[in-house]
Symmetry: C2
Subunit: 368 residues, 2 copies
Amino acid sequence: MSAMAEPGSLAPSGAPDPDLPGIRTAVERTLDDFLDGKARDAERDDMPPEVIGTLRDFVLRGGKRLRPLLCACGWYAAGGTGDPTAVVRVGAALELFHAFALVHDDLMDRSATRRGRPAVHRALADRYRSTRDHATAERLGVGSAILLGDLACVWSCELLHTAPLTPRQFSALLPVVHAMRTEVMYGQYLDLLATGEPTADVRGPLRVARYKTATYTCERPLHAGAALAGGPEAVLDACTAYALPLGEAFQLRDDLLGVFGDPRATGKSRLDDLREGKHTALVALALDQGDPGQRAELLRLVGDSELDERGAARVRALLTGTGARAGVEHMIRARRAQALHALCTAPFPPAVAAVLRDLADSLTERSA
Amino acid sequence: MSAMAEPGSLAPSGAPDPDLPGIRTAVERTLDDFLDGKARDAERDDMPPEVIGTLRDFVLRGGKRLRPLLCACGWYAAGGTGDPTAVVRVGAALELFHAFALVHDDLMDRSATRRGRPAVHRALADRYRSTRDHATAERLGVGSAILLGDLACVWSCELLHTAPLTPRQFSALLPVVHAMRTEVMYGQYLDLLATGEPTADVRGPLRVARYKTATYTCERPLHAGAALAGGPEAVLDACTAYALPLGEAFQLRDDLLGVFGDPRATGKSRLDDLREGKHTALVALALDQGDPGQRAELLRLVGDSELDERGAARVRALLTGTGARAGVEHMIRARRAQALHALCTAPFPPAVAAVLRDLADSLTERSA
């Protein structure tokens, strides 16, 4: 079956409204079916069921599905209409790739929780603890989380390459996917190097946000969808103009939520980033704008692996008192405005521009 | 350019002899060029050079290139002739995938050396030690080795998908590649679980060898090459009949070398497997054949993370004294004979069968 979209075959006014809830449901069903097949394969081959079980649980139990939704938006933006099977499957592949990135990210950051539950390496270590000693269970937790992430990575390739795409669609899609994968890895590496070494220079964290979030989370998924619909250069450029500031704003919101958010809503600890010494724009601004006493106190507290809730409250007071928190809110507003402005001149069907406007609001104003 | 092989277009007697040294050189040049491009990309984007530098160094400084060579053999076996560009590029992708698997394997096994030099996570940790404290350097070593492995994985996909293949070749190749990637991950997982838990049942280690080595290292690379040449079922079956016993024999030799080998030749410590408590057929046989005293001593020494050269010498004496070492040598000979026997009836050009015969000898009799 060819699911090639037919750009321009309908006038914008005749194009159907983007059905993002329908896309989300279809993406989740695709992931469920695909991982169900992998579970059956594991059973057939008498493989231990916990790897696929833990991965399924992680992928299906939560997540914003942001990359698949933006992929679908890119497809609609470029005039994609008709059967969305291909764009759904490519979106599902992006989501599975993201599961891989998160599993390894939590391992590198030593984060204990994700989506309100134990991170994958913790869940696996807990499972082994019933039959192995503590040190062995910890070692197995790390090793099996590396492998589970690796499986998610290679399976995301399989999902992508079993999508019903024409050779022309593959040719347009693959350079986008290859660039995206490299960018997020380098973004993660820059993030890893900067962790524990905060400075007053906000350009460092913004560069990390660019690679880790702006291109990986926003621009490339839009481009992937647009590529499937055969979108011309002008559509890709408009996607970029919208996605890059939005992605930075999204990351800046994430940084605020990592420190000021409600863990019941975010599903993540709000001590992890501070204990790990994550170098965010928020911390950079506080170091830049604080007086010498505030700076010294921040440098002492941020990156203290034993930081408790009282110490974290003190950091929050410093981040607010130096004006850094308000400064980051200002940066978010400026970037959201830039993204919305880009939509004014974007050659997208009006209904798609409207959906992207709503997305810009919900992604930058979110509490989870 | 289409590099589709033309099976059957030349009678076997007219087919050129397989040029494995030429293939090896071409694979290494392909890897060099590809990684050179990645290094230039990193420089252009002002990325830290150590990730790509360490990966290049690791990929280009050694390795048997076994998977690319078997991939080429599969191509020749299925009657592949003419321009080998496609099979070389696919082989290079297999080699880069293998680099990814090794980097994560050394991390999970906590192996300090590989190919006679520090393992990637050790090399990176050593590099960070000049500017960071010990604990941070160790953490960065682990995190950056995870990311470097991940990059090698996604770049191996990129190498594969930029190979000059026809849609028909891709369709034939991808199921082989997808199966191979899943199998090796599960093999690694079974290996991880069994480590530190040796038993007298040889079936466990042989099952690990099947997934980790027999299919991943031998059968699938041969199938990948045969698929590129449009090889029929009979050729694929003959590849399997040759590859599975050969792969098991290769792994059994690896187990022996891991304990009895010369580290100057293997490039690996001969204490790592014993300290880690690697569950090999060698250890299983010794536990099965030893008397109660020998069993107890083996179980005490194998898996002792502090094992020294004197303890290792004692383990070697036990492995020899119980007859396990001779038993594994016998298993290797039986499997090599089975692989050679499969070649007698294989529908391969005679020159290809001759090359595969030589390979079976060198892979099972090797000292490195």
